[in-house]
């Protein structure tokens, strides 16, 4: 469904991504793990067009989307829940969700999507008129996910959705991800919490300083001594 082919990304003079290639098959959860600053966020941002790679290509459903504007890519059914949630803090929850469906012109469809999101996250319905900025970290994370779901993406990129959340919420978030996937959304998940990520994923990639150093079946990676040592705390 998604194919990244040998991308190189620079921030000014900094060579952040030094040739990353990966594939996300339809209907799967693929996870990208790696240390801080390895280039995970950069990879996701490149996929959805927020950053242009210097060389290399990104294909979504066999079409080249390299250099296509983000809003066009989103239109084709690919959305990201960005690192740090980036909700619209000074708007109420319902407006955040409406913006998630910005490209959907059909009012009825939008209303239905909103129903679904509220059903999945009842907390959001309770607080739908509250300003998003005043929500707790976990609630903000739910909102960010709900907002992304409003556009009914076929491929969802998630960037560290568990960051800063309490253990109980981390579990909840992961079960939501799994559920989403079971309902047909393909997912590319970036996580620090490698153990959790690998345990729900089908496939995993390990990124180090801008390169893929390991790739394979998630279960295998979970058992691999290198991964264990570097990312699972021995």
């Amino acid at each position: 469904m998604l194919k990244v082919d040998d991308i190189h990304v620079y921030y000014g003079a900094i060579h952040a991504i030094k040739g990353i290639s990966l594939e996300v098959p339809q209907g799967k959860i693929v996870t990208l793990i790696g240390a801080n600053g390895a280039g995970k966020t950069t990879t996701l941002n490149t996929i959805c067009g927020l950053i242009k790679p210097k060389t290399g290509k990104v294909y979504f459903e066999d079409k080249d989307i390299t250099g296509v504007a983000t809003q066009e890519i989103v239109k084709r059914g690919l959305t990201q829940v960005p690192e740090g949630r980036r909700i619209f803090a000074n708007m109420p929850i319902y407006e955040n969700l409406e913006l998630g469906a910005y490209l959907k012109k059909d009012k009825k469809e939008v209303a239905e999507s909103m129903e679904r999101v509220y059903k999945r996250f009842p907390r959001l319905l309770e607080r739908k008129n509250q300003l998003a900025g005043s929500l707790s970290g976990g609630e903000q994370q739910m909102l960010a996910m709900g907002r992304a779901l409003m556009s009914k993406p076929r491929l969802l990129l998630l960037d560290e959705p568990s960051m800063g959340l309490s253990p109980i919420l981390v579990k909840e978030i992961f079960s939501i991800i799994k559920e989403l996937n079971e309902q047909g959304t393909t997912i590319l998940l970036v996580e620090q919490n490698a153990k959790m990520a690998l345990s729900i994923a089908h496939k995993g990639y390990v990124v180090e300083t801008g390169r893929i150093v390991l790739a394979g079946d998630a279960k295998e990676l979970l058992e691999s001594p290198e991964v264990k040592k570097a990312y699972l705390g021995g």
């Binding site: 793990i33 790696g34 240390a35 801080n36 600053g37 929500l135 707790s136 970290g137 976990g138 609630e139 560290e160 960051m163 800063g164 959340l165 309490s166 253990p167 109980i168 919420l169 981390v170 579990k171 620090q192 490698a194 153990k195 040592k229 570097a230 990312y231 699972l232 705390g233 021995g234």
Partner: protein, 255 residues
């Protein structure tokens, strides 16, 4: 007598009671944890301890003297330093300048000395530089001294924030989610570091963290906050098995 004692501390924002009747007591050399669900009021408690928010009621005593009503910098001068949940480095400055700024209140020369470049200025600057380098060595950042803070990887930025807090020469160190965004390996190294500085500098440390491996690994005493109230205090083992904590925070099959 406890070094830091917090008595019935409360604060509300509008109608919301973010922290109510919080009681804490830390002895010299304690290493304690403060955990709780998102939005429980942990960071808010830190903000009151460091003078960022003025408590609605209650008292904070350091060595028996109240800190309530003091400005953040005055509280820092009394010996309380902190890090932030969202990293707040002086990001366009070099690593070493970040530390030198924190040394400011211990500078050995005045305004005139600086402007007229009196001899005291040079010795004072040298002392600050040397002390900063020493700290950087401890935090394994000495090879990045001239790097801009914003160019450091995330994990190193977190370490730099702790180093910077140390440079103010505190007696009490408050760490707000020091391991956030770190992988298990980095978290492990951080644990070692925290233990080591507590020992080496005789510090009293209170830390907020959601990573249970860190909290359970280093803290001797843990406070659990939920909806602004302490729901449990105890050793890691007590906490791990406390049903209220499991229900509110850890979830089933606590790790």
């Amino acid at each position: 007598m406890a070094l830091l004692s917090v008595n019935n501390l409360s604060i509300s924002f509008g109608g919301l009671k973010a922290v109510s009747d919080l009681n804490l007591s830390l002895e010299q050399g304690d290493l304690a944890g403060l955990i709780g669900p998102n939005g429980a009021g942990k960071t808010t408690a830190f903000n009151m301890l460091t003078g960022v928010y003025l408590p609605t009621s209650g008292d904070i005593l350091l060595d028996g003297k109240s800190l309530v009503g003091l400005k953040p910098y005055q509280i820092n001068h009394r010996g309380v330093a902190r890090t932030f949940q969202n990293i707040r480095l002086f990001s366009d400055l070099t690593v070493i300048d970040n530390l030198k700024i924190a040394y400011h209140s211990h500078a050995k020369y005045g305004l005139l000395g600086a402007i007229a470049r009196l001899p005291g200025f040079y010795s004072g600057e040298k002392e600050m530089h040397d002390k900063s380098m020493e700290l950087l060595k401890i935090f394994k950042l000495d090879n990045k001294a001239e790097e801009l803070a914003k160019n450091l990887p995330y994990g190193e930025q977190r370490r730099l924030e702790i180093a910077r807090a140390m440079a103010t020469q505190p007696r009490v160190l408050l760490l707000d989610e020091p391991a956030a965004g770190m992988n298990p390996q980095e978290t492990h190294d951080l644990m070692e570091l925290i233990r080591w500085i507590r020992h080496e500098f005789g510090l009293t440390i209170l830390l907020i963290e959601h990573d249970m491996s860190l909290v359970m690994g280093v803290c001797e005493k843990i406070y659990v906050l939920d909806y602004g109230q302490i729901i449990a205090v105890g050793t890691p083992d007590d906490i791990r098995n406390n049903p209220r904590v499991i229900e509110a925070y850890l979830g089933e099959e606590a790790s």
